[in-house]
Symmetry: C2
Subunit: 351 residues, 2 copies
Amino acid sequence: ATAFRASEHQHIRYNPLQDEWVLVSAHRMKRPWQGQVEPSLLKTVPRHDPHNPLCPGATRANGEVNPHYDGTFLFDNDFPALQPDAPNPGPSDHPLFQAEAARGVCKVMCFHPWSDVTLPLMSVPEIRAVVDAWASVIEELGAQYPWVQIFENKGAMMGCSNPHPHCQVWASSFLPDVAQREERSQQAYQSQHGEPLLMEYGRQELLRKERLVLTSEHWLVLVPFWAVWPFQTLLLPRRHVRRLPELTSAERDDLASIMKKLLTKYDNLFETSFPYSMGWHGAPTGSEAGANWDHWQLHAHYYPPLLRSATVRKFMVGYEMLAQAQRDLTPEQAAERLRALPEVHYSLGQK
Amino acid sequence: ATAFRASEHQHIRYNPLQDEWVLVSAHRMKRPWQGQVEPSLLKTVPRHDPHNPLCPGATRANGEVNPHYDGTFLFDNDFPALQPDAPNPGPSDHPLFQAEAARGVCKVMCFHPWSDVTLPLMSVPEIRAVVDAWASVIEELGAQYPWVQIFENKGAMMGCSNPHPHCQVWASSFLPDVAQREERSQQAYQSQHGEPLLMEYGRQELLRKERLVLTSEHWLVLVPFWAVWPFQTLLLPRRHVRRLPELTSAERDDLASIMKKLLTKYDNLFETSFPYSMGWHGAPTGSEAGANWDHWQLHAHYYPPLLRSATVRKFMVGYEMLAQAQRDLTPEQAAERLRALPEVHYSLGQK
Ligand SMILES: O=P(O)(O)O[C@H]1O[C@H](CO)[C@@H](O)[C@H](O)[C@H]1O
Ligand SMILES: O=P(O)(O)O[C@H]1O[C@H](CO)[C@@H](O)[C@H](O)[C@H]1O
């Protein structure tokens, strides 16, 4: 019988954090691609555009004028998917027709006053300011809401409608679906094994090494064993940390530095401003924040769509939507490629 | 207090079939869109292209020559994600690193010899031939495999890499993730309520009417209460049918006719060849096919991405990937728009 090799033989892998399976068919990288290629990325974003509602001094859709901010800048989304005061849909009349109340707020956070930079092109102290702003907004909105989702859609391919470097923060009165799944899995793991799932997972990856991308004094970046997106990564603190605001000053500086390295590698992979959606997950907040959430470990997910080049992406379509996620290279191959990339941004040229 | 109105007030809805929640924020349709627009669709596909591996008489990647078929045509995918003979990855050494064997086959089914047609432009008897071919392939591959996933990716936006009208069939040795979720939900509903979830659901929608798009003697098309994609629909037989091959001849004719109507409405919505991924779900097959699967009801899901126009889609990105699906118009609004559209294809002009 042929010996199993992950890079040659399809198999399925289990995601214990979100209770999902992925089909890994690495041999499929060999097929030719004749489908849609993405439009080339906008190359010339002006540093300042008075008509861009995210720029310092610009007027937004609601008539408010942005301050001449020179660091990060947080403001209310002018077209929020969650508002603080929606009425309750009332009791459901049938188990197949269940609706519930949803309240919340949506904010936008600009990372920098300039439109023509991205996180990997910002300095470590500038990224550290973003980390601090993230911690503050979790603290501020987490006082009221059980879940505060920080996420960044980067690049037009990921539905980002404004090139100015920014992320979004959506706080909700309910635990969203993915948060519920991570809560269930981490809770179950803790009660079965007596320690947080992601603490043991990080430790194992440090031993096994083949999926590590970057390590630092306080952080790990790895391609998870169950990654779905071609170059998906998981960013984890080494220490047991439940939420962003708990990070020490040293951990925050180190986070800024490892993020800059990771995002530089991403940009270097296809020599493009690498698109992705990313977001932070930590223990629930709100009125139950004081409960025991020790099974939670803070982490960030990066979900980048590109597969073969700056213009050829992985499509999560028919089989993936109807049956199961499928990937075309192994997580180990992805990690190896990311590891090998330089930590100096390609646009800065050779030293 | 303000009275709740689904079209004005955000709320969350539960998908009892797949055990998921969706955030419905209909007021959000008001926001302007300045993000990515999709490239216009290819307008001129030649009826026959000898270099297109899906055309009659063409040579495929593996050197085989297609017959001069004049109906449907089924053949092995030359770059399959599932192969029949992959070795087993062996036992896992840790609960966080679980891999399992995956075996299967991937086939491609051409719907028609011409490249310049799509299902809504085919005749009802031609579509009926597709239905029969679907039933046969379920029977053929279902003899060996527990799950046979028929799916169509239509349009470059949905990762379709060949304009010739076709679908794919991936049969696997395992129950894929989504199938497992639907199995659990339907099983639980049956044991609690004594009837199949989707039978009761179809009956309720016939009474409530507001989400119906089309009805016929044997079929229903509706926008499910928990729809995620803007114009998502669910296609259901009225009778309790577990798998495609069980459909009677009258039910197959009627299916061909209602599919033609639905897909014509889809094309008419934005006067474009409407992109989507669709697929069939029925009771598991393979060696366990003889077990009791009465909790299953055959159905097809249509997942179309377009939101506002032929070039502006809904992006399922940051919040959706990290937290929960979110939609910008209510399922009732979507159903109303689809209902109002003509059943004659826009490209055929006025009668
Ligand atoms: O039609 P293709 O080229 O085989 O592939 C397409 O559908 C597959 C199944 O949904 C996806 O895995 C691919 O990403 C997509 O491009
Ligand atoms: O950045 P925007 O325009 O608010 O919106 C973008 O991110 C949202 C949250 O992931 C998605 O719901 C939208 O579909 C996407 O276009």
